[in-house]
């Protein structure tokens, strides 16, 4: 077998929580290190995994800037920090005296492909919430607006924009599968959606595969945490609009937000951090949720919902407000 030269990956963190890395360490079938081996990806450095520290790391970064070490893939986790007052001093890379924003910009200019891992690096994310005290932005977006650190028209030497693996956090498979596709050269721009998210997971809705679908169909809704009913009507669930495959792919061996009993907050979407209402309350006008399922005509939804409500089986009406199955299929409520 011909031995291909490895792809060199550098992983940096800035305005974020490190949760996408911690999630990624949980990759399975196979594990992360095996995936990287299989893809022929060599980790130049990762904050949680590498030996290099301090001066050794700064030396590596400098040799990338000098062109002595090739950089095929630059992954950024966490938002780009610009505050206070445009100084970037809210995150100075330790030991360097230089704002992280400037390191990211300089290294991105050397990278063949730049990847934003998580909604913070992609769009700003949670780090941009609450009035954005850190004045953070994404690599190529500021919320839903193109721009960010590298500018809306940025394209890397490989011809692609920043690939935005959005999510808060990212599913380990979203990252692994994207990196493998990049390494194999089969991730073209047609495989990215309107926010440059990989379509491999963003072509789906969180609603797909939701175990609460029968409750949804009959508008049998939960009102309080731990109840089994649909979370869309009262509990703020955005699963019918959210672009991700969380209920198909599943998390941590079989979970998802919905399976955990709480609402989808649409964490792959730019601006999810400021929904304009409390996260776990559904805003309504005249009793009808403001945010309707994607691609569904409003009149049709309203008609269908009222019809469904009138026809809700007793089993679903009862179980929707219970925290365990009280009425089993084919039986009447006691």
């Amino acid at each position: 077998m011909e031995k291909k030269e490895s792809m060199k990956l550098l992983w940096l963190q800035s305005g974020g929580c490190g949760g996408c890395s911690l999630s990624l360490l949980g990759a399975e079938s196979p594990d992360l290190l095996t995936t990287l081996d299989a893809a022929g990806i060599e980790l130049l450095w990762h904050p949680a995994l590498s030996e290099r520290c301090g001066g050794d790391l700064l030396g590596l970064l400098q040799s990338i800037l000098d062109g002595a070490v090739r950089l095929d893939l630059l992954c950024l986790e966490g938002a780009v920090v610009r505050g206070p007052n445009g100084s970037g001093l809210f995150h100075v890379l330790a030991g360097s005296g230089r704002p992280m924003r400037d390191w990211i910009g300089a290294l991105a200019a050397r990278a063949r492909q730049v990847v934003a891992v998580g909604s913070c690096a992609a769009f700003g994310g949670i780090s941009a919430g609450g009035g954005n005290p850190g004045d953070v932005c994404g690599l190529q977006y500021e919320g839903a607006r193109r721009g960010g650190l590298l500018g809306g028209s940025y394209l890397g030497p490989g011809g692609l924009p920043v690939i935005n693996i959005a999510g808060c956090p990212t599913h380990p498979d979203w990252v692994c599968e994207t990196l493998v596709q990049i390494a194999r050269g089969d991730l073209g721009s047609e495989r990215l959606d309107e926010f440059n998210r990989p379509r491999s997971y963003a072509d789906h809705l969180v609603h797909h595969g939701c175990p609460r679908n029968e409750f949804y169909e009959f508008k049998a809704s939960a009102v309080n945490p731990s109840e089994l009913g649909c979370l869309m009507e009262h509990m703020g669930c955005l699963g019918t609009q959210a672009r991700a495959d969380c209920n198909i792919r599943l998390w941590n061996g079989g979970g998802s937000c919905l399976r955990g009993g709480y609402a989808c907050i649409n964490c792959t979407q730019p601006g999810f951090e400021e929904p304009g209402h409390p996260f776990t309350e559904t805003p309504k006008i005249a009793g009808i949720p403001v945010g309707l399922p994607t691609d569904m005509p409003k009149a049709w939804f309203v008609a269908l919902a009222s019809l469904a409500k009138a026809a809700t089986p007793e089993r679903l009406r009862d179980n929707a407000r219970a925290d365990h199955i009280r009425v089993t299929p084919g039986k009447r409520a006691p």
Binding site: G54, S226, P278
Partner: protein, 482 residues
């Protein structure tokens, strides 16, 4: 005297810089710098109180559940709401899963790889450390990643996912557990226990937790070859390097108490400073004399705390505030937790050598064994069909605090609610305690004190002893400043 800057540190969560003044092959003085500020306390002001449950887990990807639980407890305190027994058990299980995943990650991925550094080539134990613990290449990392991933299936089962779950609510958990799920949880705990017994300890957990003195530990270690288990392997290297003489603290330990069940905590809250003392939450304060912060004069209790960053404060060198208990610096973490709880092995180790690198690691692994045994009991106590979550009304005006133990130590949230919205939200994280800057009296924080006297070898740029000491705290920098 010469001054040097060490950083960035990796294999700590987040970014960290340490400034050292050195002379005669030793650290004379140290300043710990947390170089990143995001502003979660500012973001939360004016929001609906329950929005905190979305925001605070995202302070930290490694202590996500801990942050979430502290917020849930703070809001529950404001509501006067208590959890049903099932909610308490499920919450304990979710928190324990995260805490043990963190202990495992710390030992195998963050701490041990430093013994495979080139600096140690030539030590008789080097080839073993290289083969087993080398970063990315060692056998242990490849073995542990799948174990860790499967362990986190417990969070998939009980909390939907990890990190950043919304399952932990003020009144319990949003995911009720049925019989079959209880069975699966018990099986996952058994699988993890098997890894601990076969690979980490090389002995059954009951024997590990029964070790009751430094002598008992030493003779246990001698009973099998150093490389027969990873704990023995560590004890062997630690002995050879004298890690019990490295990173000696001031021996003032604090724990908020962990894993409540029906009115009692599995690890009790309190203070140990030469002797046991009760913990008075009213004695906690934060001050900003050396922080890039302004608009707060003197120390304040977190209910009254202010977070306003300012990059141009004279004398400041970090975004971290300086928390104190009754004006004193405290060390927190697994060692503090087990010291306060009074585990005989830890009491004896500290009596002999105080807080040090060796004892911090031993306490973390011992605690892993203790908690796994406890988790098995919690799973068996779950009653399917009974409630997991109670509902409460949010008052228009109230305050509450949530004080819990994360893997790396005491975590507190203090919330004040006015007109149904968050008026003030203050967080003091474990590493805020451990990596605190100096206070107004010039007293350095715990790590700053501990680094004094650390040895520096000829020609070392980033002294390996300093790295062992820093990582022995299992620091989480993204929590520290939030």
């Amino acid at each position: 005297m010469s001054r040097r800057i060490v950083g960035p540190f990796n294999r700590v969560e987040g970014d960290l810089e340490v400034q050292l003044e050195t002379a005669d092959g030793q650290v004379r003085d140290a300043w710990v710098v947390a170089p990143m500020y995001r502003g979660f306390e500012q973001m939360l002001q004016g929001r609906a109180p329950l929005d905190a449950l979305v925001y605070v887990p995202r302070i930290c990807g490694i202590c996500s559940v801990s942050q979430s639980l502290a917020a849930a407890r703070a809001i529950a305190g404001a509501q006067g709401l208590a959890m049903p027994p099932n909610g308490e058990l499920a919450t304990n299980l979710i928190l324990a899963t995260e805490n043990l995943a963190d202990h495992l990650t710390h030992f195998y991925l963050f701490f041990m790889p430093d013994f495979a550094r080139e600096a140690y080539r030539g030590q008789p134990w080097f080839s073993g450390a290289l083969e087993r613990f080398r970063a990315l290449q060692g056998a242990a990392a490849r073995q542990v990643l799948p174990v860790r991933a499967e362990w986190l299936h417990l969070t998939g089962l009980l909390a939907g996912r990890w990190p950043h779950s919304l399952a932990l609510q003020p009144g319990g958990t949003s995911r009720s557990i049925e019989h079959q799920e209880r069975a699966r949880a018990g099986t996952l705990i058994h699988a993890f226990r098997r890894f601990l017994e076969q690979t980490l300890f090389g002995d059954d957990l009951e024997s590990v937790v029964a070790l009751d003195s430094a002598d008992a530990l030493a003779s246990w270690a001698r009973a099998a070859p150093p490389r027969s288990s990873d704990f023995r392997h560590f004890l062997h290297i630690s002995d050879a390097l004298g890690l019990e003489r490295l990173g000696r603290g001031a021996d003032r330990f604090m724990s908020f108490g962990a894993y409540p069940r029906e009115g009692r905590t599995r690890f009790r809250p309190g203070v140990w400073a030469g002797g046991d003392a009760p913990l008075d939450p009213g004695g906690i304060s934060e001050e900003i004399s050396h922080s890039w912060m302004h608009h707060q004069s003197g120390p304040r209790h977190p209910y009254e705390g202010v977070t306003l960053p300012s990059a141009e404060q004279p004398g400041a060198y970090t975004w971290c505030k300086a928390p104190r208990l009754d004006g004193e610096v405290m060390e927190v973490g697994a060692l503090a937790r087990q010291m306060v709880d009074g585990h005989p092995l830890i009491r004896d180790l500290v009596a002999r050598g105080g807080g040090n690198v060796h004892n911090r690691v031993v306490a973390r692994l011992l605690e892993s064994a203790l908690v796994v045994l406890e988790m098995d009991r919690w799973v068996r106590a779950i009653r399917p069909g009974e409630p997991f979550c109670l509902q409460g009304r949010l008052p228009e005006e109230a305050q509450g605090h949530g004080m819990i133990e994360a893997a790396r130590g005491s975590l507190g949230h203090w919330v004040r609610i006015k007109r149904g919205r968050i008026l003030n939200y203050q967080i003091i994280a474990p590493t805020t305690w451990n990596f605190s800057p100096r206070d107004a009296a010039g007293v350095p924080g715990a790590l700053e004190q501990v680094l004094r006297g650390a040895p520096i070898q000829e020609g070392e740029r980033d002294p390996v002893a300093v790295q062992h000491i820093v990582r022995s705290f299992d620091p989480c920098m993204v929590c520290t400043v939030h």
